[in-house]
């Protein structure tokens, strides 16, 4: 479509004859809708199939985490925090725990850091597989859903075998990860570690996920209809993306090679060899493709980590009642959805004085009014799906 929006607006405002002059229609997309990834409401002014003005209305899922965290202790905050982006549950806990450990100036054992890294990358694979399942479904192709979710089941089963939870692991503790048997038990003498066979099963599962990613690429990537629906649709230029704070695969698809795994030291990513996937155009197809290729990179990282995982403790020595000394710090991490950060203000007590949660999807969808202006109604769905947001992440 090469007609620009100004011409369209002019054409629709010109009245050909009194009887067929039409008004705009206000269409409410959501909050209950198959494609809005949760309770997002878009109030769209639509003329036929072309939409002029889209205002997102959010807050249907606001749970007040920042206020709640002021009356919780640090381990209790961990349980709230992994419900922010529930698709990649494990990855939400990490920056918060690292912030608390930074204020306490704790040294986390190597083995715990490697385990955290493996589980974070598995959460990233799970999140990107959900995207690869739901995005073609929004365009109309129903089959990739089943392929991707079947692979995700492998990853979630592995996560459950280690942490006990598929979506809300609660596996991190201040100072490391949860030791396998609770403290104070009679069985403290047994080795506290990952379940037997976990590393081997993970390696095999990663091979199978790699095969499935190839299948998905075959099925979806070359399909002419997918290309027609996503190429050139919803182009996000670099300057706009950066000014709005868009992060993660969305930013990398617009050509900005920012990957916080390479610049931040919250987990030992610098020991592993992986590529930062970027694309050039910043349209929906690029955003989809970047996420598919990132699954392969995560598989590489996990395999390298499994090969070189050291032995050791799973948790540093911490007192029973954890009090974090006074201080402020900001830790940012590369979550599957984008940049997630926690600004932790501690006053020396058992809980935070103020916790500011910078969630990725909040900034990612603040761009919707800009990007959806003058777009066709089916393309609204295509663009929204390609931004890959979750309402828990938006609303906190």
């Amino acid at each position: 479509m090469t007609i620009d929006t100004d011409t369209i607006r002019h054409l629709s405002e010109v009245s050909v004859s009194v009887e067929i002059e039409t008004e705009d229609m206000t269409l409410n997309i959501g909050p209950q809708h198959p494609s809005t990834h949760g309770v997002l409401r878009l109030v769209a002014r639509v003329d036929g199939e072309r939409c002029y003005d889209v205002q997102p209305v959010i807050g249907y899922m606001h749970r007040g985490y920042e206020k709640l965290s002021e009356v919780r202790t640090y381990p209790q905050v961990t349980t709230i925090v992994n419900r922010i982006d529930w698709v990649s549950g494990y990855a939400n806990e990490i920056p918060f725990i690292v912030a608390a450990e930074r204020l306490m100036e704790l040294v986390v054992p190597e083995r715990a850091q490697y385990i955290r890294l493996i589980l974070t990358e598995m959460a990233r694979i799970a999140s990107h597989l959900v995207f690869n399942a739901s995005y073609p479904l929004e365009l109309g192709a129903a089959t990739p859903l089943f392929f991707a979710l079947r692979e995700r089941e492998r990853v979630l089963d592995l996560l459950e075998s280690v942490t006990g939870g598929r979506f809300h692991p609660n596996f991190n503790r201040i100072g490391g990860v949860k030791p396998a048997y609770a403290a104070g038990s009679n069985t403290r003498k047994m080795p506290q570690d990952l379940p037997a066979g976990f590393l081997q099963e993970t390696r095999e599962a990663m091979d199978k996920v790699g095969v499935a990613v190839d299948q998905l690429e075959d099925l979806v990537a070359g399909n002419e209809i997918i290309l027609a629906r996503t190429r050139g649709v919803g182009v996000l230029p670099q300057e706009v993306a950066v000014a709005y704070g868009v992060s993660g695969p969305n930013l990398r698809a617009s050509g900005v090679p920012v990957d916080l795994r390479t610049t931040q030291d919250y987990l030992p990513y610098d020991r592993f060899d992986f590529n930062v996937i970027t694309a050039e155009n910043g349209d929906c197809w690029d955003r989809w493709h970047v996420r598919l290729l990132e699954i392969r990179e995560s598989i590489k990282i996990i395999q390298q980590a499994i090969d070189t995982i050291p032995s050791g403790d799973l948790q540093a020595k911490v007192p029973k009642v954890i009090k974090v000394p006074k201080g402020e710090t900001y830790v940012r991490a590369e979550n599957p959805k984008g940049e997630m950060g926690y600004y932790l203000v501690s006053d020396g007590g058992q809980g935070p004085y103020r916790l500011k949660i910078r969630s990725a999807s909040f900034s990612n969808i603040s761009i919707l009014p800009w990007i959806l202006e003058g777009i066709l109604v089916p393309d609204i769905i295509a663009v929204m799906g390609s931004l890959d947001f979750v309402l828990g992440d938006v609303d906190r």
Binding site: V71, V242, D265, G341, S366
Partner: protein, 198 residues
Amino acid sequence: MTSSPSETETTSLQEFADRVAGAVSGVAELQFGTAKIKVRADSWVEAHRTARDELDLVFFSWLSAIDWSNQVEVGDPPREEVEERIELLSGLSDVTEGNLVIMSTDLPVSSPRIPTLVDVYAGANWHEREAFEMFGIDFEGHPNLQHLYLPESFAGHPLRKSYPLLSREVKPWPGKVDVEAMPEKGRSDEPSTENPEA
């Protein structure tokens, strides 16, 4: 790899913080790996414009506030007396090296107001709306200063320390239980979680 920054990282971060502080005429403070630059409230927008144009901090990460107050309705009051103010924070970053600064300024608690950052960073729009509804900060010149998360008719500013958690009024928290006691040995009516072969 430890979780606190190494010596060389701290020095380069200190250099970066000093450079930023010099450019925006603020005071740099480095703690726990985070560079915080305190500027005056009347040069808030200018400081951001300088940061964006001259220091290459083009990525707008977030904007929020802290309510420093000695009397709190929720949680514990601060252990030492703090100066009562609303501290406005914004996070800016560059896209090449991953340097991030937190710009901060202080606003008075009663009627805090400050010019908007929307002309400098378009992304500040929603963050400022959230700060407005949560803390009551008035952003002058904002195109659409309305509630973002809360319903239109909501009164009060929830993230202020003087705003109570209403669920606590109804039912008190049963105490800060951090570590529960283990079940006693030998109880036969509950399944044991211990390994019988230990």
